[in-house]
């Protein structure tokens, strides 16, 4: 019970901070929109496989930039304060949940804009939406933990990319397979394997984050 209240409080704190500065959300939405524009102006017209792969590459970089802020941005003093008032479990759970919401919002906005600009809608939009939900879920769980590790190592952006790319590649491969099925409009029963694998990877990563984060947090 204590844990749930702490998590609620910490998510409230994140939302309040975000609402006051409106920096993370607006910043990343602008980042994604301008990247999509750059891609549109360079490719002009895209269909099928390339359209799909490009979307996930854009989302990969957008999410690294968004989620890496969650720990890298916190000042030493604030980290120390949170350490004294909340348990490490509450902290990692709240950060992950907040990042899931943020990424979900950003991914949906990006998908809407991407389909609009390239004037191309995948055959099975429902499955594609499910894939984006799973994608933002996995991006946030993995990147939250990696950003905690990178911030403790005290060497921001580059370390974050090096540490997270090998971990995220299996997820990206699965996502591109799943969304390719959606783009081709295959029967949904074909994609069950990929959905299950993504869920398993998520559960695995979440479990290991919960186990390991308390050790990381304690200085």
């Amino acid at each position: 019970m204590q844990l749930i209240r702490e998590v609620q409080f910490l998510i409230g704190k994140e939302l309040l901070l975000e609402w006051r500065s409106k920096y993370a959300l607006n910043g990343v939405v602008l980042y994604v929109v301008s990247t999509i524009f750059v891609c549109f102006l360079s490719f002009v017209s895209l269909r099928g496989v390339t359209w799909n792969a490009l979307f996930w590459i854009i989302m990969l970089f957008a999410s690294i930039n968004t989620v890496s802020k969650s720990f890298l941005q916190e000042s030493k003093g604030r980290q120390l304060y949170i350490y004294t008032v909340a348990s490490p479990l509450a902290l990692i759970i709240s950060k992950t949940i907040y990042n899931v919401f943020l990424m979900l919002l950003v991914t949906l906005i990006a998908l809407a804009f991407y389909t609009l600009v390239f004037d191309y809608v995948p055959e099975d939009m429902g499955l594609y939406l499910l894939a984006t939900v799973l994608g933002s879920l996995s991006f946030s769980t993995i990147f939250t933990m990696i950003s905690a590790i990178a911030s403790k190592a005290g060497n921001g952006g580059m370390l974050m990319a090096i540490l997270s790319f090998p971990v995220i590649i299996p997820v990206i491969v699965m996502l591109i397979k799943l969304t390719k099925n959606a783009v081709d409009g295959l029967d949904r029963s074909v994609s069950l394997d990929e959905i299950a694998t993504l869920l398993i990877i998520n559960v695995l990563v979440a479990a290991f984050s919960l186990l390991l984060f308390p050790y990381l947090w304690r200085d």
């Binding site: 190592a153 090096i162 540490l163 090998p166 971990v167 394997d193 398993i200 695995l204 990563v205 290991f208």
Partner: protein, 217 residues
């Protein structure tokens, strides 16, 4: 494990499997021909690598519970030894692929994911270089090592099963036991696996002792 019988056993098994691997008869098969002898070298590399990475993750878990620096240097030295075997596995695989599949890098799922699994451990070593303070380095890299291990398992054992691979036993290809009806190859293959695992463990203990000596200087 300070006794020497297992070192002798490892050396004898590796020598036996190398000599028998080149000289013993193999089943005559199309496409594979004599290249099938690479089985005795390519596959044991991966077994040795997995054993060494498992030792490393166990040492990392021990470090987190005991905060003993010895566990940390054991973890990093077994990763160093494991990476040697991983690279040898990739190279022997590439040579084999060059003569049976046509290209050294045939864009096979197992090749790709094994290369990515190596990237995970290179990232681990770079993470260690990025941190100066010894205790902090040990703790953070132990956490990343434990975090990376299940990902390596997913990369090497789960994902390749979901798509077609040129490797035997995947994508409708018969497994190797189908080629090996009279079990002649097993007489060399199993000793080769055990021998290379023992040699890998030996390399790891030597690396660890060298690093311990350097620290005490």
């Amino acid at each position: 494990m300070y006794k020497s019988w297992w070192k002798i056993l490892g050396a004898v098994l590796v020598m036996y499997s190398t000599i028998a691997g080149f000289l013993a008869s193999v089943p005559p098969l199309p496409i594979l021909h004599q290249s099938i002898r690479n089985l005795y070298f390519h596959v044991p590399m991966w077994f040795a690598m997995i054993v060494l990475f498992t030792i490393s993750v166990v040492q990392s878990i021990k470090y987190l519970s005991s905060n003993n620096q010895i566990n940390d240097s054991k973890a990093v030295q077994s990763v160093n030894a494991g990476i040697i075997f991983g690279i040898l596995g990739l190279v022997t695989g590439a040579v084999w692929a060059r003569f049976t599949w046509g290209q050294a890098w045939s864009f096979d799922v197992k090749q790709n994911f094994a290369a990515i699994a190596m990237l995970l451990y290179f990232a681990y070593l770079i993470l260690r270089n990025a941190i100066d303070e010894e205790q902090k380095r040990a703790k953070i890299s132990a956490i990343y090592n434990i975090f990376a291990f299940p990902m390596m398992v997913v990369l090497l054992f789960v994902l390749p099963r979901l798509s077609d691979s040129l490797h035997p036993g995947n994508g409708g290809n018969p497994g190797f036991n189908a080629y090996d009806l009279d079990s002649r190859m097993r007489m060399v293959f199993y000793p080769a696996c055990l021998g290379w695992i023992l040699i890998g463990y030996w390399i790891y203990t030597i690396l660890f002792r060298v690093s311990a000596l350097e620290k005490n200087k």
